[in-house]
Amino acid sequence: MKTNKKNIILGVFIMLFLSLSLIVQSQSIKNAVTETFKVSGNCGMCEKTIEKAANKKGLVKADWDVDKKSLQITYNSKKTNSEEILKRVAYAGYDNAKYKAPDEAYANLHECCKYERSNTKQIASENQNDHSQHIKEASENKVVEQKKTNPLEQTYSLYFLLKDALVKDDGSLASLKSKELLSELNSVKMEALGGKEHAAFMKYFADLKTDVGHIAETKDISSQRERFTNLSENMYELMKVAKPPYTIYLDNCPMFNDGKGANWISKESSIKNPYYGSQMLTCGKIKETLK
């Protein structure tokens, strides 16, 4: 009985404290409106970054739930709005119900925070508390099929993104793109390829995978670049057979590999050297053009 009384007193205290803190909280933000939005992310570090980006003293209080991937925001509706808050979150690198982060902001996230980005851009429809002026579309949940003219197109475009990462001296981005390229290589619909193309793909498949795998494993840009020479050779052989629908250029850097030179493939006629990046960006020349 005694303990019971104690518990009751304790309970009263806790309730008092809770209600007090509630009052304090609701007092701290005027004209408060609370809404919940989908915000992508991975870990505790993400939580910190997301909340820091969203919070504004006296105006916005944000709480991100790592399991539900949802952000609850309480804000002063006369001074700010959910668009402003979610925009800040996107600039911090996190895709959400209203904004997708700039690619650069996403690339700058810590490795452990690089959540998987949805390609189909589906987050919009999952807005849980939607009283925004967006037009609701029933069709939005439908996965948008990417129009692929060439079953290898995705492979090629990932190669170019990998090359661009090397141009930017960005080893971690190169590693990321290689991972994507590796999984793309494994999922190429070979049955959709023509006879010649199929044969060529089979011929270079293993070598391509080895080189891409090595580049994916490391973030050391110089070893990535060493592997990239061989990858580019094989990729070019493949492209010669399974031609992309646009003009490509085989570019040559005469200096790389102790003066033995190295090639790479580019979609643009201007030279952006992936072997030296910013050190010697425009070093090189066009060796062959494939139309």
Binding site: K87, A90, Y91, D95, A97, K98, Y99, K100, A101, P102, D103, E104, A105, T120, K121, Q122, I123, A124, S125, H134, I135, E137, E140, V144, Q146, K147, D164, V167, K168, D169, M255, E268, S270, I271, K272, S278, Q279, M280, L281, T282, C283, G284
Partner: protein, 754 residues
Amino acid sequence: MLTLLILLIEIKAQKTVRYDLYVRDTVVNFTGKEKRAIAVNGQIPMPTLTFTEGDTAEIYVHNELKESTSLHWHGLFLPNKEDGVPYLTQMPIKPHTTHLYKFPIIQHGTHWYHSHSGLQEQIGMYGSFIMNKKKSDPTFRKGIDDLPSIPIVLSEWTDYKPENVHRMLHNASDWFAIRKGTTQSYAEAIKARHFGTKIKNEWKRMLAMDVSDVYYDRFLINGKNESQLTQLKGGDKVRLRIANGGASTNFWLTYAGGKITVIASDGNDLEPTEVDRLLIAVSETYDIIVSIPSDSTSFEFLVTSEDRIKSASLYLGNGVKQLDSPLPKLKYFEGMKMMNGMMKMNGDLDDMGMQMSLNQMDMNVVMYPEITGELNKEKKHDMQDMKTDSTGKKMDHDMKGMDHSSHQMYNSNAMSDITTLNYAMLKSPIKTNLPKDAPIKELHFELTGNMNRYVWSLDNRVISETDKILIKKGENVRIVMFNGSMMRHPMHLHGHDFRVINGQGDYSPLKNIIDIMPMETDTLEFNANVEGDWFFHCHILYHMMSGMGRVFTYQNQAKNPLITNPKFAKRKLFSDDRKYHLMAENDIATNGNDGTFMLQNKRWSIGTEWRLGYHDIHGYETETHVGRYIGKMQWLMPFVGFDWRYRKLGIDEKEENIFGQTNTKDNRTQVSLGVNYTLPMLIIAQAEFYQDGNVRLQLMREDIPISKRIRAGFMVNTDMEYMIDLRYILNKNMGVRTHYDSDMGFGVGLNLNY
């Protein structure tokens, strides 16, 4: 029957398109404050006017303002009297009258229109002017000219009255810099480890550098800071017809959905060029194509002011918004360092032998983190260290050393993987050669100016100080321009397109605006084919109003029927750049009241200073100087002075200066002759000779930027007078000031300025 059909087609092709434009005062609210603006047919920007080549335009302008107005059809080929420059091609449209502009549409492309009266362009009078190609046009490009197109006018908004902006610019007020956070004070310099840079900058008599002059509250795309075009779907391509209707802001254009294909500029077709970004200078137009990569996402088309302080966004597509990376903040002290290297002690710019033109080499890249690396963790480019060397010798050496391709300093396309459009990349799809056997007239202009006094001119002469430039009908006019000033200037020619000589030979692009950066030399040429008085001027509104331009006129041309009194019109035209700007300051302090009142224009300065004590012993004195600024940099100002003072000194007390000259008079009235000269570190040295033979030498410096909002000043002279002061800037018109004065002692007070 056939002839009838042809006749019908002819009639259809030559239809008259009529617009009625009602110009009215309006109140807008872009920032939470209600401000006056001018709307046409109730809207800002003005309505988009659309025509097809071959039409006749009939535009009725109903002026319902309390002031006069005018409309200029920017980039159009038309009879001179329809060009819309008040007091040059027509008399202003008076309040409550209607004026008809009527002209045949003989070209196609993206253009725009704006008021050419006063500063009306700043507060709403800009709009798109679109002329479509005929379907039968041989230059009609499938896949380009048949794309859906959206007219876009970029502009800016300030809550300050434009007249006040203009005045503040002339007074070298640094309030805009404070608002932008670009004061570049000594404290900030020390923090950024650029103290030496700042000292050198002031040694070379420069004020804080910036890429634009005015702080704006909002940037606008078709009158809105943010908007969305939800009708676009994944896979769509869209043509944006963009005109920069801003009064003084250049904009960066970038797109979150991929590359930008540039297909026309200033209304003239270009060979399509893919770029990552481009800068659209004031009053230029660009047509670009962008594609929407996927459904249920809208991609940000981002328009950022050149100073990168603010931006405006247009989201293309429907759904969640894919943001574009914002442009990182400028590294101002790097820019200052670069400027120090370029500026000679005499105020001339030194291009160190780099022949710069066509925006290919952009000195500003030293300030762009996305090209030259972030602050503190700069990429170690070989070229990075080089640019600090102002002798140029080391540079030449290194340039050769690393020459294994087209490496060029300041060439942003060579230094990064970001492709930025420049004028050398523009190529016309058709030959643009001028008539072959025409005589050539070559004209040379140096763009001159002085940021400290906000004087902008050509060859150090403003419009009112020069005659019209005579050209002959039929001749080919070639203009070679060198920009010797520290700002970039978008130079615009009325009534003609010029070829930009950019290395594309027969296919040189046609434009009517060329943005010329400091130290660049550009060559333009056009065939003189329409008589009239045609304005050629810098399109930055505040530069134009300061007189940066010329008028081309044709020899023996017919009189303009709209200008009935040419003498009067000329005087009115010239009055713009002759205008005096008022500056006043008063300090109400515990030890007295002092202040200045100043009226200044291009060349003249009329200023009065007063120091009023609260006791007879402290005295009352005023000094009035009327002077004229001499030279391009205007460092020298001889003046005539008039001094009066009254005070009560004790018996036998007398003042003696360091030359042993005395004066005992308590009531002294003097006329003087003197001269001001601006020394390095922006110290003004003054020598003044009074009628009684007394001489006074004085050194003075005002507004030393100590920190973002703190300014210091000092004065010392041979009358053994001295003063030091510190001022904290509260807002545009107010500050708190403390000073010590040898006459009046220590004081604290409120500083008011206008």
